[in-house]
């Protein structure tokens, strides 16, 4: 008996030796693409029945209509004749769509790496006109997949997957990445001052007279749209990596990148020339500007990296040498919009902020609307459009430095 007892530890060890295999697992999500033939996709780029908003992206204000991007899906056409009661009229299916711009009844939109032109003379009866390939080459891949010459990804099926992993700690990339993109609208008056077409500060498209400018991850590209239905490529400028936004003002283009702001002159609109640069710490930076000042929001997170969350106000009187006037700390600023001396900033989870910008060197916070996660805004004619995570808001700001909510188009799950 005694011998047996003393052997117990050994017996226990042998018993447990089969139970010494660590059980480590990794759970991740696979995104499986759903393809459609290109011909079928193009045929469906038209006014389809209205659908609920689920992932609001960038916005474009065009007359009484709001064009609201549904991330990676298409464009909601919203009748905003009565801002207190906006009505979604139709949905234009454009897979992979993030950016939109409208000029003289032509809608320009990205379809993954391509640019498509859609005739919206009758917004309720839109029709596909043509596409230009490889305008946004950085978007040829999506979630690790790419469309081929004959098929386009139109949807994704999510699959949660758990797999065993080795016995040591690791950080393995999931087999398939989720490169999820979405956008938000904002403001920005087109260079011509045309009140019928206003893009947001988060936009990658800018319309100036007879030219459409686009930015992809590394380039500014120019397209002549004298023939509105047939953009023709004219030039490209390489700007480095991580170009984020483009904003037109008069005869200038302000381009926001992760490392700085570039100012281009449109003396020759077919081939913009870089005239000034303002470098900043690595972060994302939508920008708006007027004759004398540029307002640049810097934020961290995602690819923006960095730790800055702030508004930089620059003196751009001399565009070849922008000067920083002052920096204002913020929560996580995204798009912004300005109407006279009222500056609206979408501060991410920090809500919507309204500043008195009478003196750009001394902005005064007048109002904060908390509880909404805001991305971009368009301020026009005393009506402020705000895209937030949970929908499209509209506010009246006719009384200076006050915001009165007129409506909200919420998302549907």
């Amino acid at each position: 008996m005694r011998k047996t007892i003393y052997l117990l530890p050994v017996l226990l060890g042998l018993l447990f030796s089969s139970c010494l295999k660590d059980k480590n697992t990794m759970t991740y999500t696979i995104m499986v693409p759903v393809y459609k033939d290109k011909a079928e996709v193009y045929a469906n780029i038209k006014s389809n029945p209205a659908r609920g908003i689920s992932s609001p992206g960038k916005i474009f204000l065009y007359g009484n209509y709001i064009f609201l991007n549904e991330v990676d899906k298409g464009v909601h056409v919203i009748d905003n004749t009565n801002p207190a009661n906006p009505v979604i009229k139709t949905f234009i299916d454009i897979p992979g769509n993030l950016d939109i711009a409208v000029k003289d009844n032509m809608l320009y939109a990205d379809l993954y790496s391509d640019l498509v032109v859609v005739d919206i003379a009758d917004p309720l009866n839109a029709r596909f006109v043509r596409f230009l390939p490889q305008v946004f080459p950085h978007r040829i891949y999506s979630n690790g997949f790419m469309s081929d010459s004959s098929r386009i990804i139109v949807d994704w099926i999510r699959k949660d997957t758990t797999v065993p992993i080795g016995s040591s700690r690791r950080w393995g990339f999931a087999d398939v990445y989720i490169l999820s993109n979405s956008g938000a609208g904002g403001q920005g008056l087109s260079a011509t001052g045309n009140p019928t077409g206003i893009a947001g500060s988060m936009s990658r498209f800018a319309l100036v007279n007879d030219f459409l400018y686009t930015v992809n991850m590394s380039q500014l590209r120019s397209y002549n749209i004298t023939d509105r239905s047939n953009p023709s490529y004219t030039s490209a400028s390489n700007l480095g990596w991580n170009i984020e936004t483009i904003y037109p003002f008069r005869n200038k283009l302000f381009v926001g990148s992760a490392t700085g702001m570039f100012i281009f002159s449109l003396g020759n609109p077919a081939s913009p020339v870089q005239e000034g640069t303002f470098s900043h710490v690595r972060s994302c930076d939508p920008v708006i500007a007027n004759d004398t000042h540029a307002f640049v929001t810097l934020r961290n997170g995602t690819v923006c990296s960095g730790t800055s969350n702030q508004l930089d106000v620059l003196n751009v009187t001399n565009i070849s040498s922008p000067q920083l006037i002052r920096t204002y700390p913020l929560t996580n600023p995204h798009g912004l919009s300005k109407d006279n001396n009222q500056l609206f900033i979408c501060d991410g989870a920090g809500g919507l902020k309204l500043f008195d910008a009478t003196d750009p060197g001394n902005l005064v916070l007048k109002k904060t609307i908390e509880g909404i996660e805001t991305y971009d805004a368009i301020a026009w004619n005393n009506n402020l459009l705000v895209v937030a995570k949970d929908g499209l808001y509209q506010f009246d700001y006719s009384t200076p430095f006050t915001l009165v909510q007129k409506s909200k188009l919420g998302i549907t799950k």
Binding site: K21, D22, N24, D99, R169, T302, V303
Partner: protein, 190 residues
């Protein structure tokens, strides 16, 4: 968490009741040893303090366990001695509690991908057979123990990939680590 804390409360309550009824004495066990499993062999340190009464000991323990990922087990422990002969005896032990991660939460950058991790606690339990060898006066003793030990923790890794316009959805991967080891340790008790 409630499930893990419950045994601690019960044991402490039992010990308290015992204390009131049978005059149990304060007792302490401090161990150093190794845990070895599929992944590696690493150091462990533990101290358990509680009350002893007749053949029983019940207490609360805390330690540091370096197996794969450094963690802090926080647990309730029960021992029972048997085959006592003079100052020597065998004892069996059972521990149950929570395994608290003590690992740096890393921010990792690869080109344009930014990743960080969030670690969360998991179950800890252990069981073993020990030998108590009394030395000197009072109840001082050398302790030798062999047993089986299990600890678990989870890690949520969030990766932010290049995103071309907000809002951007990060990729999350959830890692579940369930580590099973043989524990060999020596200690000092009184």
């Amino acid at each position: 968490m409630k499930n893990i804390l419950l045994p601690v409360i019960i044991i402490i309550a039992l010990a308290s009741v015992s204390s009131a009824q049978q005059k149990p004495a304060f007792s302490s066990q401090t161990y150093a040893g190794m845990v070895t499993g599929e992944a590696t062999t690493d150091l462990q340190l533990q101290t358990i303090n509680g009350l002893s009464w007749k053949q029983w000991f019940a207490g609360a323990g805390v330690g540091i366990d370096w197996y794969s990922f450094r963690s802090v087990p926080l647990f309730a422990s029960v021992n029972r001695s048997f085959f006592q002969k003079g100052k020597r005896s065998l004892f069996v032990s059972g521990d149950a509690g929570v395994n608290l991660p003590w690992v740096e939460e890393r921010l990792y950058t690869l080109d344009l991908v930014y990743r960080d991790s969030d670690l969360s606690p998991g179950l800890y339990w252990a069981g073993g057979l020990g030998y108590r060898f009394g030395v000197g006066k009072a109840d001082n003793a050398l302790l030798f123990q062999v047993g089986y030990s299990y600890k678990r923790m989870q890690e949520k890794v969030t990766s932010n990939f290049p995103c071309f316009s907000p809002p951007c959805v990060p990729v999350t991967e959830t890692y579940d680590y369930r580590m099973k080891r043989i524990s060999v340790r020596v200690g000092w008790g009184f």
